[in-house]
Amino acid sequence: MDTLQAGLSGVLVGGLYALMAAGLSITWGVLRIINLIHFGLILLGAYLTFQIASSWNVDPMLTLVITMPALFVLGALVQWTFDRLAISELSSLLLSFGLLIVIVQGISNLWSADFRQMSAEVNPYATRSVSLGGLDLVFPLPTLLAFGLAVVLIGGAHVALRRTFTGRALRAFAQDRAIAAAFGIDHRRIGVLLAGAAGATAAAAGMLFAMSTALTPATAFEWFGTVFAVVILGGIGHLLGTLVAGLLVGALGAVVTVLISAAAEPFVLFSTIVLVLLLRPQGLFAHGGTR
């Protein structure tokens, strides 16, 4: 029973991983930019949620009204700059690594390196949980929200990529840039739009993070391992793959922690990544660079 509880809780937490990874994965796949600043945006989203909710005493969910547009603009701006500088994939990694450090340290200077958490009055979600009576399972509300938001946002994006002109344009652009351009697709516009959308998902992920735990700037770096595991397992640029991979990684981590020990988790995760890279470099679910 413990294992089942752990696995299911892990799946729910995995929703948050997927949400964090989705923006990174799609900008990497489509725009060929590895944007580590994404981690900075998530962290910024979390701190903004904390700050807005605490000072104005509003529900953390409502802060999204402000943080999503704000981070959309920020994400778009970063992409606009990258595009202007004609940055290659590898330099994007270096450049964004430098800027990520700037953002994280800046946040640390503004909000201090101590743990920050919204108070219980502001954030009623943290302490609530939902129990499945018959099965004796209990799930904290924030993880349920994370799972729900992940499914809705990633699923929605997946549908939008298939059903709208802009969505199809993005996929076409990822598959063959020159020919996409020949059909009227402007790479600047589409890149800025996509990076903006990724920024908005960072806001959602940040909000969920602020809702469920205490914040400290250094967490941004702790996300690296898990998030990149999800990106690579899901297949770079593959949204549904990212969602499933997020849930899997969440479950895997939780189950390994219960069955073996928490120390084994990074090892299992790392060996999974290495195996996937060796056997299926395109990701678990993709058949070649799908999106």
């Binding site: 330099s91 430098g98 340290q105 690296f224 790392f270």
Partner: protein, 646 residues
Amino acid sequence: MRAALSRRRGLWGFPLAFVALAMLSLYRETIGFPVFYLTLLTTILFWTAQSTSWNILSGYSGYFSFGQAAFVGVGAYTTAVLYGRHQVDFYVTLGCSAVLCAVLALFVGGLAFRLRSLRGEIFALLTLAVPFILGALAQLNSAIDGGQGIIVTVPPFPSQLGLFQDYLYLISLAVAVGAVWAAYAIQHSRFGWALSAIRDAEDVAEGLGVATFRYKMLAIMVSGVIGGVSGSIFALQIGFVAVTSVFNLTVPLFVIVMSVLGGRAHWLGPVLGAGLVTLLQDRLTASGLADWRLVVLGGVLAVLVVIAPEGLYVRLRARPWPALAAFAVIVVGLRLANAFGGPLDWILYGALAAVVIAVLPGRLGRKTGTARAERTDRPEPTERKAAVPDRPSPDDDEPAPTGAEVLVECEDVARYFGGVRALDGVTLRIGSGELVGLVGPNGSGKTTMVSLLAGTLRPTRGTIRVAGRDIAGLPPHRVAHAGVARTYQIPRPFGSMTVRDNVAMAIMFGREPRSLPRARAAAERHIGFVGLGHLADARPDALNLHQRQLLEMARALGTNPKVLFLDEALAGLTPAEIDNAVEVVRRIQRGGTSIVIVEHLLRVVNQLATRIVVLDKGTLLADGEPRTVMRDPAVVQAYLGKRAHA
């Protein structure tokens, strides 16, 4: 002459530098050198060793690692656990660190470099994960740390050395000088040349006979050993080892910033970078701006990637005197005025001024200017037919020796890509001394054929023998050693090397490997042979397309091949250039090398080749004397469409 000079520097320079710097500590009191400076120098030395360790792997080979903290951490914890906790002799722990880090490095490298088509970004991410995992392990495992941290006490050291700071300084100095010397030695050896070639164009290097996997493994191992030993000493320096202080993302940030700032293709780059960055950090802390250190550093990295990706060393080398003058003027000026802080501040301001002077002139007036000039100089086409001399072909005066001995044998070779049959059942023999034209309409399988013969692709079916040796499944560098060389349609020279060194590279790693000085001497002959003698010291980016194609040929000849594949070597050339290229090809053939020329320009191939092989839709359509083949109805139809021959 220059080689001799640099060897002398290798022999004497490093011991001299070591002695000179050691004096600062040994005669510290006599010359009145403050201990505080010694501590700062120790930090600089630590970062020098670390960024040099990073540079040997990532700077030289181009595979960026974000995992330097793994070496620092493993080194520091090895010493902390063995010496700090179990009182094992400190020097023994240094050896243990070296071994452990070497093993770790080989493990990571063995996994990463085995990946087919490993991309640099994937390597970076893999290495990013390593310190994170090791840190978690240390945190959770109480035999290592268990979340408490470990105190490392001062080890016994000879009392003549004075303070512990002196001791620490001296061993840090020894490790740093050793590391820089290793970087220097590597840069000037075959090993370093192989790494540069890997950085510039890895698969080309492999195709010229460089065992790329082995060299990458060697590089990551050396990097690990240096990083680990230096990490051990770091444990003494900090006195208390905790996960957050060693498995820390600021470590890769620092080493990358230092190496990128200093210049990562050169052994001196990280030294410059480590000095400057550490001084900057120290001064920021001293001015009460400690919180902003990382902001400044992250910003510096971002700006550098954009404006000076090649680093300071190259810029300073280009204009050393203005930079030195700026440094001197600022330092002396501030000293005389005795304003703006103390000596360290003055040095920092001077160094910053020198940096600005070095970096400011922007793009160094990129060499594109010359390349463009040369393009306009090209002879204008006068008459198309004049492109190839109307000589009867094959040449009556010098009959090509054909088919004396079978050199390349393809037996029923097929290659499928998924369901697509790029090649299907091709049987082909090429004799020594032949000049074969391999032609066919678009999509006929020519490129696949060349890739199979050069070993970059494996056949789905069939056997390929070169000089009696089965090459199917051999790595490309072994195929090169079997006697196969190729050129690329879009020339891919090693951009960081001169024309001479491009060819010397091929000779050093070719069928009969030679040392660098001998290879350089031998390279002259090949360069002269293709007519690039006057450009031996030029960089490839100053060459025009035709010259780069000739360089491709000279480089391929450098491997001393039995058979040479020329892939579209004439594409995009002017008629006069085509004439010249054709002449060079003939000369190569007369030298006894078999040539397979893959070409679109049929009129040239028909006159040049002794034999034409036509592929169409992955099968062999015709094979024979040019004029006969080109009148074959099947060939005519393949080129012109049906009914054309009727």
